[in-house]
Amino acid sequence: MKTEEPLVSGPGLEMDTMFVNLGPQHPSTHGVLRLGLTLAGEVITKAFPDIGYLHRGTEKLMETRSYHQCVVLTDRWDYCSAMPNNLAFCLAAEKLMAVQAPPRAQALRVITCELNRIASHLIFLGTYGIDIGAFTPFLYAFREREMILDLYEALCGARLTYNYIRLGGVASDVDADWTAKCREFLEFFKPRLDEYDTLLSFNPIFLARTKGIGVIPKETAAAWGLSGPNLRGSGAAYDVRKSEPYCGYETYDFDVPLGETGSCWDRYFCRVQEMRQSVRIVEAALAALPGGDLMAKGIAKLPKPPAGEAYAHVEASRGDLGIFLVSDGGTAPYRLHVRAPCFINLAILQDILVGKKVADVIAVLGSFDIVLGEVDR
């Protein structure tokens, strides 16, 4: 299945174009994203993603709220994977306050973030299957995701917006029962990954729809600022967990899966392999879970970090999530900027959709795994 160049120029080939709105209410846009597509026949000649439908101005809201209250707002960016959002904000604020979470809290942060990566990639796997026309994997993926959400519910009472990672540590401790359940899940989950490969990854129809479609070369991916599995699917080995380890990631042994060509399938398969690595990390973290405090000493109820600027970034499920935080010594952040991976990943769409056929739009869009809550913030 090769995409064709649009035949819109040349004598006798003038063709009427048609404008098509995809979204903002469309099941395959994964939220409120509108794509304005100009078509010549079946081929796209111009595409513009229209965003902002979910813009809540969280960066502005945080300017009047205390640092503890801000953590709650961070959950609402990437609501499919809220733990890394909590973490990125807390790391930036902790940098300003010059405190560090105790070892047990750091290990719990790693465990919860990696479980969240699995849960988030499972949503991707399921919904991407649906986008392409394979309904069944969705049911399997959500069965496993449900188990992770149950673990979260037992841990912090919430299934989606956790507010679990707090300034200076984490909110609650795990007990032997929880770790046993977590291990049980990991043992259950490992063979499921092979099942997904037979169900979806190497399904001939799925391969025909995704392999060689939406190819992004390495340099292009870097130029557009892609991050996370979208960048690694193009073969660039950039992972914040490796380049700037945080929360003790340098002590865990894991690989960074890379794609070969940067096609939709490479981005997809990168995520499937990442789930294996996350399982490895969680297993290692559970095995070496240190004892001790959950909270660093000296975190005030109304923290006033000293004036200064800090940047912290984490490898969130969807890419490099960065928080730039400015304090003027007050109780609320003076300014907060989110380097939102979904927002930056989405920009390339206007470029790579041109020349594709309409049928490929959903395959390409789905392969970026966007969450509009983070795109619009």
């Binding site: 965003i51 960066e59 009047t64 600022g225 950039y238 490796k242 380049s243 200064g308 010594g329 380097r339």
Partner: protein, 189 residues
């Protein structure tokens, strides 16, 4: 061997200086004039391998944020009779030099070495204009549009400098400290 971006940039741009208050733990360079950003970005990208534009944003240093920019109703919750305490305007920080400038911030990354460098530049608030980096980094496209929309920085040379996050009818730039919300059709009474 890892290249030293700050030394190379300081050699090429004599008016630039290492920032007095850097972004914690990262090399930060303060530029002297808007024209320098293009030259600096070109050196970073072509010579030093910083081909990854991570972030474009700005900080408005006018002073504590004005509450006029927030929409609030007395009791937004249908579940409680008691209204939450009204938002409190943040107090001015002691010893902070508030001034009518937008402090621009660019962050460049080197994917091979994992290094990062921040560039800063102060531009006046009422006429904030800097050159666009879209000719060098495609990633600048949307990030500059975001800074234009929310902070009112104009990026000269940007091919499509339009609003991106806020609705078309919204006036002003919400992340500016003196932004005041104007009532529109979507506000409750």
């Amino acid at each position: 061997m890892k290249p030293d971006p700050v030394a190379r940039l300081l050699a090429a741009l004599p008016r630039a200086e290492s920032a007095a208050s850097p972004v914690k733990d990262y090399p930060t360079l303060r530029l002297a004039a808007p024209a320098d950003i293009l030259a600096a970005a070109r050196i970073l990208k072509d010579e030093l391998g910083f081909a990854y534009l991570e972030m474009v944003t700005a900080v408005d240093w006018l002073g504590p944020v004005s509450l006029a920019g927030f929409v609030s109703s007395a009791n937004p919750s249908p579940f409680t009779k008691k209204a939450p305490p009204p938002p409190v305007a943040p107090a001015a920080g002691a010893g902070i030099a508030y001034r009518p400038v937008l402090d621009m911030l660019w962050s460049f990354g080197n994917l091979q070495t994992g290094q990062k460098v921040f560039l800063r530049l102060e531009v006046p608030r009422d006429n904030a204009e800097v050159p666009s980096l879209t000719s060098l980094f495609a990633a600048a496209d949307w990030q500059e549009r975001e800074a234009f929309d929310l902070l009112g920085v104009r990026f000269s040379g940007h091919p499509n400098l339009t609003k991106i996050l806020t609705p078309d009818f919204l006036k002003g730039h919400p992340l500016r400290k003196d932004y005041a919300h104007e009532k529109d059709a979507y506000d409750e009474d």
